[in-house]
Symmetry: C2
Subunit: 483 residues, 2 copies
């Protein structure tokens, strides 16, 4: 019989510790860090199968189309996509998912998971979830405790009443206490004692149990989230939570808000491999260093290096060469390069903050900008011109728009474009070009079944993305928004 577990994928986070691959505009969970899928896709796939209902995704407005595209690429359809008007940590996000699920499936089980973790053994993880289900049905709030393999100071730990068995069986056990992120000496003790597991932020509970816990321990959060849902707006497949009540929410984790105050807690030990890829040192560790400790990914050449990560995975076939390096992380992208002592990988945050303070776009955005209809990237910017590559998904359309300060040439290089200019409509196929005079009202659509690629050459006195007057937009965007 099916367990009917509803996955809740949290993917609103925008960490900077994996810069430059992860940026605010395209964070870690959506990047193909390991293997062919993004971490978000890996998480969605891990929580799919006969025991699982379609997922509920909680994310930010900027990422909503990335979420739908990445799920579509897996041929998965989400049950709900909740859009947070602002990041408010896990308590609010989980509460919103619980209320949403409870409204259509009262008392259902929900499996809450971050979308940026690596858990390679899907069968073992799903078996752990199955083992946790009876306790969750009994009203327990179940957390998953990861078998620790180092004295990690970056995580909270979970203290059990008794050590897990030798096989690390997924048997629910009582939780004795939450342990805050320890210092190095304390972490060594936790590791050697055998009673402590890592807190990975993965939970299984029924909507009934978790909403009761919110009502008891965090009633204000519950009320505010309910208000944000009551005033939510449905926009295409997205549920946009109301900004007023959502903005007033406390920024607090579910551990602090609920778990640490509850007494109906259980832990299921998980003995398989797990990583949160929290920094480049973790990526190095998880991507299989060779006998010299070297990981060379993409167009990377390591000459006499040890314990080093060389990563050059951009489409642009950029080459990176390392010579005689020890304990170094190199992440090369065409617009930004990070070179760091591997043991100081946590300081990448500082570097990103410094770049941001200097106004460098690389701090937060990628050259490629993802839009509802596809993506574009700037190829070259000159004093009075700019060249872009634009890719439009099959069936998608850019808004009807005009520009005050620039004219545009479009040359179709792949696929077919349907182009409206003022009153005329024409189809342009490979190798055809179209000129959009300054001020002309125009729209581009991809009426075909394959992606449309075109080269846009802009010329004019001002080429900013905010020179746009929008007349109609199937994606409900306002004046001055991009594309």
């Amino acid at each position: 019989m099916s367990l009917e577990i509803h996955p809740v994928l949290l993917c609103g986070g925008a960490g900077t510790r994996l810069w430059p691959l992860s940026r605010k505009s395209y964070p870690k969970q959506f990047v193909r860090l390991i293997g062919e899928e993004s971490l978000f896709q890996g998480s969605a796939r891990r929580l799919s199968g006969p025991d699982f209902a379609p997922p509920i995704v909680v994310t930010g407005a900027d990422f909503r189309f990335v979420v739908t595209e990445q799920l579509a690429a897996l041929e998965m359809a989400p049950a709900d996509i909740l859009i947070e008007p602002a990041a408010r940590n896990t308590a609010a996000a989980i509460c919103a998912a619980a209320l949403t699920l409870d409204a259509r499936a009262p008392g259902a089980l929900m499996l809450v998971a971050p979308s940026d973790h690596v858990i390679p053994d899907v069968d073992r993880f799903q078996a752990g979830v199955a083992a946790a289900a009876p306790a969750a049905r009994d009203g327990q709030l179940v957390t998953f405790g990861i078998r620790p393999n180092r004295a990690e100071t970056g995580y909270g730990w979970l203290e059990l009443a008794a050590a897990p068995d030798a096989a690390f069986s997924a048997t629910p056990q009582p939780l004795r206490a939450f342990v805050e992120k320890p210092d190095g000496a304390a972490a060594e003790q936790l590791l050697s004692g055998g009673l402590h597991l890592w807190n990975a932020g993965i939970f299984l509970f029924s909507t009934t149990a978790v909403l009761a816990a919110f009502a008891e321990h965090a009633p204000e959060t519950l009320a505010q989230v309910r208000a944000a849902l009551d005033a939510a707006v449905t926009d295409l497949a997205f549920t946009r939570l109301a900004a007023g009540p959502w903005g007033a929410l406390q920024d607090i984790s579910i551990d602090y808000a609920v778990m640490e105050r509850a007494d109906n807690l259980a832990v299921v030990p998980y003995g398989g491999a797990w990583s949160d890829l929290g920094d480049w040192q973790a990526v190095w560790r998880e991507t299989g260093p060779d006998a010299d400790g070297v990981v060379a990914r993409g167009h990377a050449t390591a000459i006499d290096c040890t314990d080093t990560l060389l990563q050059a995975t951009s489409e642009a076939a950029q080459h990176v060469v390392g010579i005689g390096l020890k304990d170094i992380v190199v992440v090369a992208m065409p617009d930004a390069v990070l070179v760091a002592d591997k043991t100081r990988a946590q300081e990448v945050k500082t570097a990103v903050a410094a770049l941001k303070a200097n106004g460098a776009a690389q701090a937060e955005t990628l050259p490629r900008d993802y839009r509802p209809w596809g993506w574009y990237e700037s190829l070259v910017v000159g004093p009075r011109f700019q060249v872009k590559r634009i890719v439009v998904h099959p069936g998608a359309a850019l808004s009807l728009q005009s520009h005050h300060h620039r004219a545009e040439h479009w040359i179709v290089v792949e696929g077919t474009a349907k182009i409206t200019i003022d009153e005329s409509v024409k189809l342009a196929s490979e190798n055809e070009s179209v000129y959009i005079p300054l001020g002309a009202v125009h729209r581009m659509e991809n009426p075909g079944k394959v992606p449309l690629t075109l080269i846009e050459v802009q010329s004019g006195t001002y080429l900013g993305e905010d020179d746009i007057i929008r007349y109609e937009d199937v994606y409900s965007r306002g004046q001055g928004a991009k594309g």
Copy 2:
């Protein structure tokens, strides 16, 4: 009275030790490594002024237009540009320059210098040349000996009969012996003894004296070079040495071929700063490390680094960030990134060889390709299209040509283009576009006074540079040659 010294600038070299900034297609001497001028430009300027005639430049065919452009930017015109059909080391190059100069100014003084050295104090260097002139007029072969400041194993050394005076006056002195590149212990002895200077490969002599020395010590070289000059072809401003006799020449330095066998040698000590920028460690040393030993050039951010070079000077505004690095060299370009232990900078050659063996274009060529008429760079390559940015110098023209496999769209974004397609000629100015159908015979010219910039979008089944049929070319190039 003017000294009438004829500079001979040797710039045929194509070293790989400063990769990725220096490539075979655009070597070190033409790169702006330090300051606003290339090393070649700095060398030409250093050997200009009232005492100097226009220079003779000896270079390879690939660099002839770079040479004329970089001299034109200094408002200098060369007396001769000798094109070596193949690199044959300094003996052949200097012999060719001596014969060329002697034919029009018998017995004139020539100052031979590599074009990739840094000598910041122009006045002091010119004073050294002036001090050497009387000895050169007397028939001496004068070399310049650099005051050593470290036990360098990468150079040959010059042994004097007596130590230079305390002020390191530029007084010609007898040379006692050439010393081959020493090992570390021997170099320490040379440095501490005070009798030895670095051999920088800079010479002053009369054409009479050096040709007599060739006749005595290297008569075959003299005969072959004479044959290569007799059969040389004049092409625009260039003297193309004949490939047959030139190819038969021995690959040998003037030190081995002539200097070490001659007895009319003098050394002028030079006490000013000098560097051959032989590797990235030398660039780091010469570019003024701060109190922490850090050099950060271009869009580079160093966080808690020591004794480290971070270089990101590409036009593309690529950012490089270093965190916690010690003794590391990082050179970032959009298509290639080098990260090396600074003490192992010499091994860059090995890395370039490895890249070349793997077929990576980055090993030898830059994204920007310099042509007689200007330059172009590929912005993006897709499965059936390519986008290029093309810049044409005022008055320059691309050859009359056609392509079998591709059509081209040209969009002018700066300046004015005169475009011939089959029988028709039209002018296209900013924001106008032109379509060149597959097979059409076409030419592009810049009839204006300012550079012409255009965006070329190619589409077709094959986009290689060798799909070109050339009908007329003011630059005398053959079928399949680029542009």
